[in-house]
Every structure is written in C-alpha cells, then in structure tokens.
Assembly symmetry: C2
Homo-oligomer: 314 residues x 2
C-alpha cells in the first residue's frame, strides 16, 4: 500500500497511535498546538533532511532515517546545555511512497525520541516530489544560561563528549559501493549524540558549547569567531578508531585524522571549560588561546582537505 492509497489522516493516526502526554507535556498531538510547561527559558532549533541530499533510501532504512532526524535535531539543544523535552516532525513524501516506509520512519522517530528523553508532540504530513523531513526540538534551560558559541575564554581547555569521524568514514565507504566496516556505515545511518552531556557541561560551568555537525574544525571555527579567541586542537588527544584507520588505509592511503577533523554528522559536543572543571567522561582535546580568531591543529593552521559542507554548492 502506498501513502496515496492510505491517505493523510490514516497515516497520521498510525504515526501517533498511543502517543500520550506526561511530565512537561501538558497537551500532546491532536490539537492546533501542543502545550509544554518549562522550568526555564526555551531553547528551540529546526533541522531539515532531504532524500538524496542528507540520506539515500538504498543506504539507510526508513527506521534509520527517522532516528537520524531526531538525533541530529536534538543535538542542537544539547549544544545549548538545555534539557530536550519535546519534538515536532514534518514529513513530506511522494504519494507513491510505501506506507510501510512512513510507518518504519515513524517507529524510528519514536525510538530515538525515547533514547533522547524527548516526547513527540506534533507534526505535519504532506505530499511532495521527494522525501523532506523537518524536525524542531523544544528544550528547557531550567534556570541556567544558554551555552552559546561566544563564551570561550583564553586559559580554558577544549573538551568533547561523543565521537568524531565515524559518519564521514561511513559515507566514504558507501560512496565507493562498500558496506563495511559495518561500524562506520551504521554511524552514518544513525548518529549517536552524547545525550544528557550538554546539560552536564552546563552544570560543570562550561562557557561555550557546540555540536559537531559540519566537522570539528568548521564548528570550532564558529566558536573561535564568536568568542574572539584562538582554539588549538591537540591531535594526540583525538581517538582515531580502528575502523577509521582501516577506511583511510583502504581509500588511497588517506590520513584518518581527516575524518576526525573534518567529518561531520556524528554530533559530538565540544566546548570550553575551566581546566579543573571538565566533567567525567569528557576528553580534553585542546586549549583556548588569545589572538586573531582561528583554529589551529597542533599549533599550526590546518592545510589538509577543507572541512565543512555547503548546500546548494555545485
């Protein structure tokens, strides 16, 4: 059965079946708006994923895509030091899409919402030529100030939670027609942001935080410019995993550090901390220095492949 045969209202019924409202959610799906009760200020961010731009149906299952839509969006709330509580998701899809795809997508959304501790509180469905998914996260700052990109101060250390370079290694092998090493392929399909660690950082007094979606150097560049500081990454502190080395070796003798420094989409959190207040489980990977805003790698500008990803580019 296709979405066209199922119809919009039946799809919504299937997607939302059994969804309730508890804790901070005063009113869940089914009315003009959902209603949430927050203890502090609201942090909000929106994120769009497009078929054949951000995912391919032959590389990722519908369940994977649903999980990724939630994970990549919630990571932005983690990056403010907020507690994510609610999510709304819009699904635009061709009428020819199998209804099964939409249901598996919804199951993935709901599974990752549970992983992230957020409730699915609303959404929209409509037809389109291509699958386009937009998720918006609602998060509670609960009395703390937001961790912006502008708060890094010389003398602090850079520390990170989560992992780097896995999804990029996955895209590298998938793009060459391989399906292994499986760990990096899975990492491309479903990122694993370090849920809860954004709040840990805020409570530990971090003064700047970002999630790594475009690549470590690109995203640290945002902190460097917004804070007016130099950030120096110590590559000996980065954890290059075996599958990344294997992929780098297999693909033209590449340097696995490129994945670590320029690969996006793993949604690690990285921020600036006082040296004696780095939370347990966070890895110190560099220092905040004075000077014209820039990001250094082992004290020098990075001259490897460029980091980051621009949409609309040829």
């Amino acid at each position: 059965m296709t979405l066209g045969e199922l119809g919009e209202f039946a799809l919504i019924e299937r997607i939302t079946a059994g969804l309730g409202a508890s804790g901070p959610v005063v009113l869940g799906v089914g009315d003009d708006c959902a209603v949430l009760r927050l203890a502090g200020d609201l942090a909000v961010s929106t994120d769009t994923m497009v078929e054949d731009v951000h995912f391919r149906r032959d590389w990722s299952s519908a369940h994977d895509v649903g999980r990724k839509a939630v994970a990549s969006c919630v990571a932005d709330a983690e990056a403010m030091g907020a507690v994510p509580i609610g999510l709304v998701v819009s699904l635009a899809a061709p009428p020819s899409t199998p209804a099964e795809w939409a249901e598996q997508f919804a199951a993935g959304v709901r599974e990752e919402c549970a992983n992230a501790g957020v409730q699915l509180v609303g959404g929209d469905t409509t037809s389109a030529a291509q699958i386009v998914i937009t998720a918006t996260v609602l998060a509670d700052l609960g009395g703390l100030a937001p961790l912006t990109r502008g708060g890094a101060r010389p003398g602090q250390v850079l520390a990170m939670a989560g992992r780097l370079g896995w999804a990029a290694a996955g895209v590298a092998v998938l793009g060459r027609g391989f399906r292994s090493p499986r760990a990096v392929v899975v990492a491309h399909r479903v990122p694993e942001p370090p849920y809860g660690q954004g709040r840990e950082a805020a409570e530990a007094g971090a003064s700047a935080l970002i999630d790594v979606s475009d690549g470590l150097l690109a995203d640290l560049g945002h902190i460097a410019r917004a804070s007016g500081v130099v950030l120096d990454v110590d590559t000996s502190a980065l954890e290059v995993a075996e599958p990344q080395k294997a992929v780098a070796a297999a693909i033209g003798g590449g340097d696995p550090l490129v994945f670590q420094l320029t690969g996006g989409d793993d949604h690690a959190l990285v921020g600036a901390f006082e040296p004696d207040r780095v939370p347990a489980g966070w890895r110190v990977i560099g220092r905040v220095l004075t000077g014209d805003p820039q990001v250094l790698v082992d004290g020098k500008p990075w001259d490897g492949p460029s980091a980051g990803w621009q949409h609309f580019s040829p």
Copy 2:
C-alpha cells in the same frame, strides 16, 4: 544568480541580516538554538507548504509565499488562545532557484512576522528537488489554559473572527485561468488571520477554539467530536461577500455558501463562547447543542459538496 551560485551561507546571511532579539527573545538567530523567555506554558505547532501542492510559483510571488507560510502557521497558535512570539522557518529549494526568489521569500516572511507580532528566531536552508517550507511557531499561553477543541459545551454560541471562503474562491478562479476578482486571488495568495483575536477569545473565557484551515464544516467537525456536542451553523449569519457571489455565479451557477462552509486557508478563528461573553468584533454564527457529535447547517446535515482536503489523495 541562482541559489547554487550564491551558496548556503551567503543565503543565510542575506536572510538574517539585521535580525535582532528583543522582548521575549533572549537569543536570536546564529547559534545552535534560539532562546525565548515565556511567562506561561509554551504552545507549539508546525506547518509545511510544498510547491505545486500548497502554492504555485506562477500564481503566487515569492513574497506572497513567505507571508503565507508565516500566517498559516501563526494561526495555529492563535487558535490556542496563545500569544505568538517566535518562529523558525526551514527552506528547501533547488539549487537552480533564483537567489532573488529566496530573498523575496525571506522579505515576505519578515513582513508577515511583523504583522503577526512574532520574531524570526531561526531556521534551516538546504537543497531539494522542489521548494518545501516548514514553519514552526512558538507561543506563550501567559498563565491561561490552552483553548483546545474539546471544551465546547451545550448552551454556548459559536462565534468567529476573520473571514471564510475567500481563498477557496481565489483558487476556483485561478484554476480556470482567471486572475479576477482580484480580492479573492489575493486572499488565496496571502491569508489574513485575525491576529490577536485568539488571545481576545481566551481572555473572554472561550472554552474551545480552532482556526479554519480545512473548511468551516470540517474544522467544526473536530470540535464536535472532541467536545462530544452538536454544532449548528446559522447560514443567515455568514457574510457572503460580493466577489464570492460573482465567482459562484460565473462558475456554473455555484452556491457561494459552498465557499463559506467548505473553503479552507483563510484561517478564521471559530470557537465556543458563553452567549453574553462574545468579544467585540466577533460574529455569532451558530449554537452548541447536545446530541451525537455532528455539525449541522441550519438544523440539518450538510448535503452539498464535501469539505476538507486530504494530502496524498489521488
């Protein structure tokens, strides 16, 4: 110049130039999240518009599309009795789209945000095969309970603010290749929700409220079912405007009441009030009765053309 030539970051820079943060907006665009300070509970809703499904580039200017994306989304917050304060907007568009289109779209978004009293606080841009826009509104209930669809009680009256049937009449003429009467064509391009009237209704003690996006009968059906009541619409109280009569007469002797009763997309507000507490400027259009949930027209079931609009349908 196309979006592909301009690039994603340059587009974002143009769209967000000069945007600030004031009042309830603690932090505007430019970080991982925006931050808003609310006095009461948060009401949130998301709305997606797709090219050639919800709008056509040959029928509506980019500026119109931007305004409509804001208006149709903000109307959902009005329909909860909340004060809309912030909006995030995602724009997916083909790289071949003229950069001018995106800039005019953004100008329309910003103009309608000003009309609605909300601030644009964030968004996302990406490439796609087709233009897909998702807006999410953030609104403040400020100490009042949300006006759901489930609060209508027998003995109350139905009252509405805003207008009905204009956009549907506009689609009827555009679909037949005409561009007049201009008033209805303009109404299709840019709805005019009665901004601020949702809050007026809440303060007047309304107990149920909805915005008319699918058609009066379809949307009253939601209230009837959620409240477990009969709603009886008095057609003599509806205001059929001259352009609607002209369109109905020109197109096969149609009844202009069909536009009023089944036409969506004008985003009037309609709700249930105590008879002596209908706010100034609201029009009483019917009554709330006991009985098996249904919507009546002048005491009888409606047997004209069916109301509502389902996506994915053939």
